[in-house]
């Protein structure tokens, strides 16, 4: 039995944080996610790879409540997650998007402050009458937002409209906004898409920094070098199902993964289904059992 620590970031590393069991998502006749089970532990960086159309983003949408899975269950810190984005956020899960979805007509710092919405307590009455509680919280929020911008390396950009920021900065701003919701698990959907090698390296450093804060990170990526540098464990998704899951170096050298990427004709692919389990890299907790 896993003890799940609650409250605050500093959960003992190794405790089970996200537990997706047999998640299936069908759109009409198309099965986009097929019986996927994954566990992410506190303080872990978990990579999700797979060819285009493998269902990675759909799986993210199932986790964050944008889609209600056709079947299966997502547990977070031991609790079943309701399929409602704002409650998922409140539970402690935040995400970024493959195609950047900032609030384009807001400044960088306003974007970050929107992320704090669910974590502050003042209401409109407090605000209109400028009650002390409102001032205090507003001040604290602004300060925290600046800290977060600083943390992701956007110190000078706080008052710029987010649509005017360079591309790499927009990606970092999305991460700052997600961090503002005070998550325990951060989901990053292709954080380095469209970045040059230097920006990619900075992104890598940033993700390590986030992990060092005590957060778990679940990251979708296509850049293999990036993902195997970064992740403690990796799962490869092919046609909606987990093909292989295990420590980075094991997945990297798995012939089935290489085949899936190089593009062997489909009839020669090994059966796509739950793969035999690889030994767990993490102490204290077993792997996903389907």
């Amino acid at each position: 039995m896993t003890q799940v620590a609650t409250g605050g970031h500093h959960v003992d590393s190794g405790t089970l944080l996200l537990q997706a069991s047999n998640v299936t998502m069908r759109f009409g006749g198309l099965t986009a996610v097929n019986d996927v089970s994954l566990n992410v532990h506190a303080g872990e960086i978990f990579g999700l790879i797979g060819p285009n159309g493998a269902g990675k983003t759909t799986f993210f949408n199932c986790l964050t409540g944008l889609y209600k899975p056709t079947s299966g269950e997502v547990r977070f810190a031991g609790e079943v997650l309701p399929p409602q984005p704002r409650l998922v956020v409140r539970a402690g899960m935040a995400r970024t998007f493959q195609n950047i979805r900032l609030f384009h007509n807001m400044t960088a710092i306003e974007n970050v402050m929107v992320g704090m919405y669910g974590r502050t307590k003042t209401n409109a009455i407090d605000a209109i009458f400028r009650l002390p509680r409102h001032r205090r919280e507003e001040l604290a929020s602004t300060e925290r937002a600046r800290e977060l911008l600083d943390f992701v390396g956007l110190v000078g950009a706080s008052d710029m409209l987010s649509r005017n920021l360079p591309y790499g900065d927009q990606r970092r701003l999305e991460i700052a906004r997600a961090l503002a919701t005070d998550p325990k698990l951060l989901l990053l959907d292709e954080p380095t898409a469209g970045m040059n090698p230097q920006e990619t390296r900075q992104a890598e450093e940033l993700i390590f920094k986030i992990r060092d804060l005590g957060l778990a990170v679940l990251v979708i990526e296509h850049d293999m070098r990036f993902i195997f540098n970064l992740c403690d464990r990796v799962a490869c998704l092919v046609r909606g199902a987990v093909l292989v899951e295990g420590p980075g170096n094991v997945v990297q050298n798995d012939p089935r993964v290489i085949e899936a990427y190089i593009g062997t004709p489909p009839e020669e692919l090994p059966e796509a289904g739950p793969a035999p389990e690889q030994p767990a890299a993490n102490p204290g907790e077993g792997n996903a059992d389907a």
Binding site: R86, F103, E110, G115, Y117, A124, A127
Partner: protein
Amino acid sequence: MDLLDLFLQQLINGLSLGSLYALIAVGYTVVYGIVQLINFAHGEIFMIGAFGAYATWMLMGQPTDWNAPMSILVLLPVLIIGGVAASVTVALLTERYAYRPLRNAPRLAPLISAIGVSVFLQEAVRLFYGEIPGFPTAKSAIPFPSIPGISGSAFQFGGVTVQMTAVFTVGALAVCTVFLWFFVNRTKTGRAMIATSQDPDTARLMGINVDKVIMAAFAVGAALAAIAGVAHGLRYSNIDFRMGFLAGLKAFTAAVLGGIGNINGAVVGGLVLGVVEAMATTFIPGQFGSAAWKDVWAFVLLILVLVFRPQGLLGAKVVDRA
């Protein structure tokens, strides 16, 4: 009366009428900005505000003998609060039962629903207002309570007569605009409103309760419409179950004129529309300048703006999405 005085007089009249339009127009624009719905029942929310204020006056025992300071400092605010309470309640019920179930339906469905709500509210007031014990029937116009010091009072400024009701209406718009600016730009709920209008799904993923944000938008619009309802009652000295139709249409015009979805645009659009109407009835010669033609000029202005500047006076360019 020389020409300058005439111009200034019509400017004052236009600004006062325009402030009324602007107060209502904000409700159209705020709701449209967030749920992309033209709330055609909003004119009726304005009417409910006026009837709510009247009901409050009835429940207070129809005070008529208050002196001017007491009326302005106590009676008027109480009437406004009563009107706001009535229209906010009705607006929230409308949102909950007529629009929310249709949120994911094709956009035409809530629009039809809005027209239905509009007819429903008019008829409900017409048929049932008089059924409340002691209340007059609302099948025809009801005289609105007068506020000593405002109703019927005026002062001279040079050659120009300024009605106190005009001062009240313009003042109410000014105060509401300041509050609204503060609410939208400086509060958490306001920020959530902007975020939701830009991208509702992402707003949800930031922990924002989108249902609450939508309710806030309806409530804010209804509150301003109720204040307009009271101003209308004071200005014309009577209220009527049909008063929301034309006022709502004009306010909608004002919102489109300023750029729908843009709050400042609604205020500017309302003022421009009011001034154009007032000027048209004075400076256009012959029968085309008669009062009967003022609505024509208002809508001619709308058509001109739509042809030459479809995004409205202050609207952003439409090509904003990648």
